[in-house]
């Protein structure tokens, strides 16, 4: 598993535990959309995840300076966004 794949697994774990989703982390397709047809997340889930991300990775998600739809487009894009913005990296 590459470092980026390991990080995707970590973010998947975080989402699943935050939202109490009935899915295994390894079963989340890193390219599939996270909301609607994909994992079925809605805007409230995304707010919950944003809270956990801010606590775990030390930065706050913003919708008005980044393309929110793109960030939550897939586990991969979300993981890349966190990796690029996390505090101390």
């Amino acid at each position: 598993m590459s470092p980026s794949e390991a990080f995707e697994r970590e973010v998947a774990d975080l989402m699943i535990s935050t939202l109490n989703l009935d899915v295994r982390p390894e079963a989340v397709d890193p390219e599939a959309p996270l909301y609607r047809e994909g994992l079925g997340l809605d805007s409230i889930d995304i707010l919950e995840i944003a809270l956990v991300i801010s606590k775990r990775y030390g930065f706050q998600l913003r919708a008005d300076n980044e393309d929110n739809v793109r960030i939550f487009g897939s586990l991969r894009s979300l993981s890349e966004h966190i990796a690029a913005h996390r505090a101390g990296c």
Partner: protein, 444 residues
């Protein structure tokens, strides 16, 4: 200013809205409204889908001038849209989203619509004119329309402005609720238009966005929000900007959340009581006690089938779906919604009351009680509760509940969960709760 004019700002240069860092004057707003009114298609009903709050306001005002009735449905699922077409033949949708897909005739907000018309150019709508239908979901799947005349909307928004202490030219509003729901429509669009205030066109999403939008606003800031958004803001890392006033509605705010919000935002928090049928009726400041005070002219009375509101902006008499403890026609304590009355082993209460009790327990972030389907005839069906309470064990929570509730209403089982499947208005659809229950059953 005529009594029922669309704007109440004292001079054409006064700011009506802030949009993408730019102040928009009453003159510019009026010009845009007049210009758009000329371009609207000839149709009787309009679904105003604009997410941008400024554009929503322009579309509402333009439609009003064309005597088109705005529809405010509870949701926009394909099924609801199909029902709307049946109930309101000729309805069309006006959107500011270029990618919008909806099964209605679609018009797009024009990119450059500013007209040259001056401030005094806007006609004054007839107060008897039907301005909007707010819709409730109804118990049979067919939405139920509740008519709002322009006069009643104006009277309600002005009474709210007086109650909230709004001063023309001083207050600026930021809203986290959509303009398409009755509360957002009243308190983020009509309230500023009818009290000489300015509003932010944005509907900020993340806590950081909400804080940034508040900080961008000049003047005395008012945050119009819900218990759900307040919880999210209070849980976010970092400081919160000072505001002059917090306004909350849609669900009763647990007192400790109200207290935390007041101290973190360094402002009083006022709650609004109302319903889609009657509009807003009363306010309270929860840190000062549970008692609600009605808007001037509105009185509540007890009838055989429950409580009724009349007077003020309320047309006729409207039955309330709530259980109240009436102290006088103008003062009451809310006990819960009567439509979710439950009866367990001969003891009566309401789910809303139980939800309020569990949410009031320190450490509980979110919680809900559910009445499961009856299993076998004759057996007592117990309530299920779901609680988000990261620092508490089941035993802690049960202990706190025992202190608040009759033993008949204690949940069996109580599920501690990471979050509740709330929709975008913060409500919990029964189907989503059913799915959560199935999910927990499979896990165990």
């Amino acid at each position: 200013m005529a009594e029922f004019s669309i704007l109440t700002h004292s001079s054409p240069g006064d700011v009506v809205a802030y949009r993408k860092g730019r102040a928009i004057s009453a003159r510019e707003f009026s010009g845009e409204v007049a210009s758009l009114a000329e371009r609207l298609p000839e149709r009787p009903f309009i679904l105003n889908d604009c997410t941008d709050r400024y554009r929503f306001a322009v579309v509402f005002a333009a439609a009003l001038l064309r005597r088109q009735v705005a529809l405010l449905p509870p949701t926009l699922t394909p099924e609801t849209v199909r029902r709307l077409v049946g109930l309101f033949p000729g309805v069309y949708c006006l959107t500011d989203d270029p990618d919008r897909e909806i099964e209605l005739p679609l018009e797009h907000y024009p990119e450059a619509s500013s007209g040259a018309l001056g401030y005094d150019g806007l006609p004054v709508p007839d107060p008897e004119q039907l301005a909007a239908y707010a819709l409730t979901s109804g118990s049979t799947g067919v939405p139920v329309p509740h008519a709002k005349t322009w006069g009643s909307l104006v009277r309600s928004a002005r009474a709210e402005g007086r109650r909230l202490g709004m001063v023309a030219g001083r207050h600026t509003l930021v809203g986290t609720v959509p303009a398409q729901h009755m509360y957002g429509f009243e308190s983020t669009v009509l309230l500023p238009l009818q009290n000489g205030a300015a509003f932010s066109a944005a509907r900020p999403f993340y806590p950081a966005d909400i804080c940034a939008e508040i900080e961008r606003m000049p003047g005395a800031r008012v945050l119009v929000t819900t218990p759900f958004h307040l919880r999210t803001l209070l849980n976010a890392e970092g400081g919160l900007p000072a505001v002059d006033l917090l306004v909350s509605a849609t669900a009763a705010l647990p007192p400790q959340l109200a207290q935390a919000a007041e101290s973190r935002f360094r402002a009083p928090l006022l709650e609004i009581y109302g319903c889609t049928e009657a509009g807003q009726l009363a306010t309270r400041r929860p840190v000062q006690g549970p008692e609600w005070r009605t808007f001037p002219g509105i009185s509540i009375s007890r009838a055989a089938d429950g409580f009724r509101a009349r007077g003020g902006h309320v047309a006729g008499e409207i039955r309330l779906d709530d259980m109240l403890e009436l102290q006088s026609p103008e003062r009451f304590v809310w006990l819960g919604r009567s439509s979710d009355m439950i009866n367990i082993a001969g003891k009566r209460t309401s789910l809303a009351y139980l939800n309020y009790q569990v949410s009031s327990i320190p450490g509980v972030v979110d919680a809900v009680f559910v009445m499961p389907e009856e299993t076998e005839a004759g057996s007592v069906t117990r309530l299920t509760a779901y609680a988000v309470a990261p620092g508490l064990t089941s035993a802690d929570l049960m202990q706190a509940l025992r202190e608040r509730l009759d033993p008949a209403f204690l949940p069996r089982p109580l599920h501690l969960v990471a979050s509740l499947p709330r929709n975008s208005t913060g409500k919990l659809p029964r189907s989503a709760l059913a799915a959560l229950t199935e999910c927990l059953k499979e896990a165990s």
